[in-house]
Amino acid sequence: MADGGGLGPKGGSVVVPIESTPTLRATVTHLVESAADGEFSAIHFVVFATWREGDPEAFDREASVDRLLERVSTWAEADLADVDDVDVGDVAVATTVVGGDEYLFGADDYVRELVAYADDHGIEHVVLDPEYTPVGNTTLLQSLEFALSRTDLVVREAPVARPTRRERLRKEATGIRFAAIFGLSLAFYLALGDPFYPFDVVTGVASATIVAVTLSRVSLDADPSLARTPMRLLRGAVYVPALLFEILKSNVVVARVILDPRMPIEPTLNRVRVIVGSGLPVTTLANSITLTPGTLTVRARDGNLYVHSLIPWARDGLFDGSLERWTRFVFYGREAARLPTPRERDDVGIFQGPDATEEYPGARADGGSEREDPSAASSAANDRDDDSDTADGEVTAE
């Protein structure tokens, strides 16, 4: 659907990442007016896909995004017709969905997709809807504006009236997310206290209200689904004993390594590309990996988890992907859990040590090689060798 690309004679093109917000309508008007003033010749409205093709819920989400984009182009057309200006015919409006082939975890990922799209279409400007916060990118994480400031794109926020903070909270207060967080907090509180003791009930309602008001925007990035949640909880109950067993097994192995000075440790940082959704699924997986001794999730970026492993045994377990399959089982069901291991998919990489297959990544998303410790980068690159015992774990550097 991206058919409005190309640089116009007067202004450049602008890309606007959107989602359904209270200020979206005003943002569209602002953009059309700016374009009519000759600032832009083409406006690209993009939505980041929060699903991957083949996810069970992909179809529904795609349909709702299509409706959003259709609404936006209708608005833009109406605004263009309202502006009495001969130049308006030159303004091209494009709407498109980007990122459908990957899960996007954080601000870095969104910016990378946005920069790639801008490069493809010769775009130099970004205008942000002031209320825009991509799904899965909660207020606790690094802001999109900050991540964008490290790119070459010219960024500004659309000067449209924001609803006040109070209105926003009241809007959330009626939401199903608020109800879910409130109910869960109250149930937990009363389980610890006494549900039949009035004092506990009153303090519980007060505490749950505070929790829900402050955290319902942060904790959930989508409305909980009544259809799916009970099944997920049931499957989660199956997962817990399996996870406990994994933890027990790894604990014994790691305890031996720690207590016996003859057994050397061989810590490395690794990369594994995981096929789970952003938000709760990837958090569950990353937490499970960290709970298992010997593996520690350091970073989620570009659809990859960066995992530090203490011993090669733990790393092999990670590359076999049993926790990834379990997470997919919990969130998407038994069918979704049948997939090749990350090792078979070539979705793994080792950054350090004698088996290293890839360069050590910088701390920042955009390359970042200038910031990292030079000695470590060279040791990771030089230590590459072809030991036969690494043959099955070998992947080529990207």
Partner: protein, 109 residues
């Protein structure tokens, strides 16, 4: 109270308590012995998972399957959610600061 507990149950409580103690000891050894912030974060999580896990199992057995035992299970659940979150926060902060994980041959830090 103690003499009301059957010998098997008492033995289980002692075994679980000792297991908890053992894994907490391993975790402490690891924090002292391992070379850098990342590997120490690994072993710190052991104290919380099996160390606290076995200890709380002992507590739940001693308290019985009424209110207190149930609360112990909730407490364990809470630890299992918060512990990896904290470990990840530490590791991620170290990574963002540009600290490269220790590999064989490096100095201890």
């Amino acid at each position: 109270m103690i003499d009301a507990i059957a010998p098997v149950r008492l033995a289980l409580i002692v075994v679980f308590g000792l297991c908890g103690l053992f894994f907490t000891f391993v975790s402490m050894t690891g924090v002292l012995r391992l070379p850098d912030v990342y590997s120490r974060a690994h072993t710190a999580s052991q104290a919380d998972t099996l160390g606290a896990g076995f200890t709380l199992a002992a507590v739940a057995l001693a308290a019985g399957w009424d209110g207190a035992g149930f609360k112990t299970v909730l407490l364990l659940f809470f630890i299992f959610v918060t512990n990896p979150t904290a470990a990840h926060a530490i590791a991620r902060a170290a990574f963002e600061e540009g600290i490269v994980p220790w590999t064989e041959g490096d100095e201890r830090r």
